[in-house]
Symmetry: C2
C-alpha cells in the first residue's frame, strides 16, 4: 500500500461501484450514507489516485456468439527477455487471448481464452500457438460451466 488511506466510506463506495458502476451519486450516497456531492468528490479522488482504474460494461458472451472458453497452460522451451517478449507479442496479437499470466508451478504461462467455437479455438492452438518455435507444451481445459463469477476484487464494504 503506497500510503493511500481508504476509510470505510471509500471501501463501501468501491464495493458498490465494482458491482454496479451505473449508480448515480444519489443512489450511491444512499448506500454509503453520504451526500451525492461527497460521493462525487470521493469517486473523483479514487479515480485520480488510481484506485479506480476505469469502468467497463459487462457483456453477455452467448449473445455475442462466444461459445467457448478455455484455460490454457503453456510451457516454453527457453526463457529470456526477447524469447518471452516474442511469445507475449503473439498473445497480444490475438484478441481471443483475454488474459495471460506468467505463473509459478508446472506451467510457465496460463491463458484465459474466449473464442466463438471449438474451431476458432483449435485454429489458434494449432496454427498459432503450437507452431511457435519456443512453445514446448500446451494443455487446455475447456470451461464446461461457470460455478462462480464475481467481478474484480474481494472488496467488502457494503
Amino acid at each position: 500500500m503506497h500510503g493511500i488511506s481508504l476509510d470505510r466510506y471509500d471501501l463501501a463506495i468501491l464495493s458498490a461501484l465494482q458491482k454496479n458502476s451505473a449508480l448515480t451519486n444519489s443512489e450511491l450516497g444512499e448506500r454509503v450514507s453520504l451526500s451525492p456531492s461527497q460521493c462525487s468528490r470521493r469517486k473523483a479522488r479514487l479515480e485520480a489516485e488510481g484506485v479506480i482504474k476505469g469502468y467497463s460494461a459487462r457483456l453477455d458472451a452467448t449473445s455475442l456468439g462466444f461459445g467457448l472458453r478455455a484455460i490454457t497452460r503453456v510451457n516454453l522451451k527457453a526463457h529470456g527477455e526477447s524469447m518471452d517478449d516474442d511469445f507475449v507479442t503473439l498473445l497480444t496479437k490475438h484478441a481471443m487471448v483475454r488474459e495471460a499470466y506468467s505463473v509459478s508451478g508446472d506451467a510457465d504461462y496460463v491463458l484465459h481464452i474466449i473464442a466463438k467455437d471449438l474451431t476458432a479455438f483449435s485454429d489458434f492452438i494449432h496454427h498459432h500457438l503450437l507452431p511457435h518455435p519456443n512453445v514446448t507444451q500446451v494443455r487446455s481445459e475447456i470451461i464446461l460451466r461457470s460455478m462462480k463469477e464475481e467481478q474484480g476484487l474481494p472488496v467488502e464494504g457494503g
Copy 2:
C-alpha cells in the same frame, strides 16, 4: 445467438463501452458516428436485451492490498449433484475465490483466487479447501506477472 441481431453500430458501441463505460452518450456518438440520443436508445436496448449485463468499476489490486493471485486446480473424489453443490457452496462462501469453473481435462475445477497475501491464501487452502471431504487434489499456480489483461470479450467494433 437467440435471434438478437447486432449491427456494426451495436458492436462498436459494445466495444467502446466494454473499454470505457464512463463515456457520455456524446463521446460515444463521436466514436460510432451516431447522435447522442441514438446511442442512448441503442444502449438502453442492449441493456434490456441482456447483451449488456451491467457496468463495473475496475479496481487496482495493489492499492487495496491484494498482493497475491493464484490459479488453483482442484480434483474431487466423487461427483454427484449434492457433492458438487457442497463444494461449490464452500467456494461461494469465500470472497477470495473470484471465479470457479467446472472444466474438462486433468482437473475438475479451476479457481481464480485473489488474496491479501500468501498467508491468507495458504490459510484458505489448508484450512478450508484441502480439509473438504470430497477434495482429493489441489494444485496452485501463483501468478507472478500479468502479461495481458483485456476486459471481457473479444468484441471488435472500432
